[in-house]
């Protein structure tokens, strides 16, 4: 499903070139549960951003579902992102002035789903993520776990094939973090490809396939 070959990404810091990714080759099958671990600066977040089409590689080739997406236009990439990829962030990234329901509704608005259908799908998602009584609350009125549940509901409302999570439990305490991970793993069990970036060994160890990175290269890939 995800097929990266010889992907490189170089950042220009002042007059220095920092190689965030140095010739990555990676293939991830549909329905896999992968963790990407490594110290900060190892390039794991950059890898996730490239898989999610948020960032473009400087060289290499990226095929998603058998289609070359490396050189798609910005608008086409946005469409692929909308349809196939869901992002979950460490800091949730909820829009503070919108309610939980409105945050979840955002991808549906972008996709151009008619309002009546939007409402019923948001209601279903709220119920599915146990947020039914929080629909009208703004992010500031929600607990951390509830916020991340809203974010996950938003990431999955368009039924993406891959869920990309960047330190999804980083801002949560241990117990709530475990709940969120259970939720993500539940989604994986229904067939969604799950890729989790973390520097937490315990968290990374839960994945069936564990990738370790260092200095922009994959140093271990265990199944």
């Amino acid at each position: 499903m995800i097929d990266l070959s010889a992907i490189s990404r170089v950042f220009h810091m002042g007059d220095q070139d920092v190689s965030a990714l140095a010739g990555i080759n990676l293939e991830i099958m549909s329905g896999e549960y992968v963790s990407i671990m490594g110290p900060s600066g190892s390039g794991k977040s950059t890898l996730l951003n490239i898989i999610g089409l948020l960032d473009r590689p400087d060289s290499g080739r990226y095929e998603l579902d058998g289609k070359d997406v490396t050189d798609l236009s910005e608008t086409e990439q946005a469409r692929v992102r909308r349809e196939k990829i869901g992002f979950v962030f460490q800091s949730f990234h909820l829009v503070p002035r919108l309610t939980a329901a409105e945050n979840i509704e955002l991808p549906l608005i972008l996709e151009g789903v008619p309002p009546a259908e939007r409402r019923s799908r948001v209601q279903k998602a709220l119920a599915g993520f146990n947020l039914g009584d929080r629909a009208g609350h703004r992010p500031a009125e929600l607990s951390g776990g509830q916020r991340q549940r809203v974010a996950i509901a938003r990431a999955t409302i368009l039924r993406p094939t891959a869920l990309l999570a960047d330190e999804p439990t980083g801002n949560l305490d241990h117990r709530i973090g475990a709940e969120v991970m259970a939720l993500l793993e539940g989604l994986h069990e229904t067939g969604t490809t799950l890729i989790v970036v973390t520097h937490d060994r315990e968290l990374g160890a839960r994945a069936r396939r564990r990738i370790a990175m260092r200095d922009g290269q994959i140093v271990a890939d265990e199944v």
């Binding site: 960032d55 608008t75 946005a78 992102r81 909308r82 972008l110």
Partner: protein
């Protein structure tokens, strides 16, 4: 993203930043209101002047003796000649022109009016019955100078409203005998009070038949001939015909001046229109300032909401959607500002009209529509840069910003 979703989403955003949005709308509204109110003032002044002119008739042609040359002065004067006088026969000849509805010869002078043991100096207009409609004067009591052959020789006098009040405070002026100069007249009517019109107070005049006036002032010539055309469209051809007739009657010399009220009016109209445009332009500057304010606020909004923009991109919003969202926000702000300013301006104009009832300060439609349109346009133009900046943001960097 669908258009109505873009509009409603950005409307909610604008509404959620209440203070910020209200301030912008206020700035816009004041700019639009300034355009509307100032043009209302200018237009009011223009209409005031036009009304003043209309009170003496816009289809009016005035013939006066002598040729006014703008270059070289009056040629007759240089040669020691006096121009030929205008006579009653001239007036009659002009009055028969097909374009002319009515005409009135006019002599003006000053004489002493005496009645009921009072005496004062008054302005005397000698004319015929038609001077009443030509000068748009109205009678309050009695009848005006009578028309028809011979009747112009009966010693009638019509008093201005103020004179009638001064001499006959009981309101019984009609039918009284008065003395003007060394002749006795019978008061046939009293004019309605009209106040001042173009610096000429018709409340303090008396009107007598032209023959009496000529006798009183010991002259056989006329001061003016007033002619009213059948329509405004006849003015130009009537003017030419008048010149031609006068040349024929005056041995081939063009020694009269023909003035149309229309030409003077048109000049004033042009000047005051230019003035209105000028103040509208000055007011429009405040709209430009409001536009810059919109740009500033939108730029702040883009940097405040950087991570939100990053998020929208991450969940699949293409740049063009982000662009539209920010444009739509500016659109709402300037639309609200424009509409609020429109009503504020109408209200301001109403206040002016209430404060100065004689000034018809109605804002012209072009200014109201133009003010709102310019507000709209500046708002949208000012948001082009911020919207483009938002759309260009790199999603990874935008997301990492707090």
């Amino acid at each position: 993203m669908k258009l109505h979703d873009t509009l409603s989403f950005s409307f909610k955003t604008v509404a959620s930043y209440r203070t910020r949005s209200l301030l912008i709308v206020l700035a816009m509204a004041l700019g639009v209101a300034a355009v509307v109110v100032l043009t209302a003032l200018g237009e009011g002044a223009r209409r005031y002047v036009v009304n003043q002119f209309s009170s003496i008739g816009t289809n009016l042609i005035v013939v006066l003796p002598g040729r006014a040359e703008t270059a070289g002065g009056f040629p007759g004067a240089a040669l020691g000649e006096t121009p030929r006088d205008l006579t009653l026969e001239d007036a009659r000849a002009l009055g028969h022109l097909p374009q002319i509805r009515r005409y009135a010869p006019l002599n003006v002078g000053v004489a002493e009016l005496a009645a009921s043991a009072r005496l004062r100096e008054v302005t005397v207009m000698g004319s015929t019955a038609d001077i009443l409609p030509i000068r748009h004067m109205k009678l309050a009591q009695g009848s005006f100078l009578s028309r028809g052959k011979g009747t112009e020789r009966s010693a009638q006098i019509v008093l201005g409203a103020k004179l009638a009040e001064e001499f006959f405070s009981q309101g019984n002026a009609v039918g009284q005998r008065v003395r003007l100069g060394d002749r006795r007249f019978l008061v046939s009517g009293v004019l309605e009070p009209q106040g001042e019109s173009m610096g000429f107070n018709s409340d303090e005049i008396v009107v007598i038949p032209i023959h009496y006036a000529q006798a009183l002032f010991n002259t056989s010539s006329l001061f003016r001939i007033l002619l009213e055309t059948k329509s405004r469209g006849d003015l130009a051809s009537a003017k030419d015909a008048i010149r031609e007739i006068m040349m024929r009657r005056h041995d081939g010399e063009e020694d009269v001046t023909v003035i149309t009220q229309d030409a003077v009016l048109a000049t004033f109209d042009r000047i005051l229109r230019a003035l209105t445009l000028g103040v509208a332009g000055i007011a429009a500057i405040s709209l430009a300032v409001a536009g810059i304010l919109v740009m500033n606020v939108m730029l702040v909004a883009v940097s405040q909401r950087t991570s939100e923009i990053g998020l929208l991109k991450a969940i699949g919003a293409p740049s063009v959607d982000i662009h539209h969202l920010f444009l739509a926000e500016a659109l709402w702000l300037s639309l609200a500002g424009g509409v609020a300013g429109f009503f504020l301006g109408q209200f301001g104009s109403l206040l002016i009209r209430l404060a100065y009832p004689q000034l018809p300060a109605w804002p012209p439609i072009w200014a109201s529509v133009g003010g709102v349109a310019v507000a709209f346009l500046t708002g949208v133009l000012a948001s082009l840069l911020p919207a483009a900046r938002a759309a260009r943001l790199d999603p990874v960097q935008a997301l990492s910003k707090k």
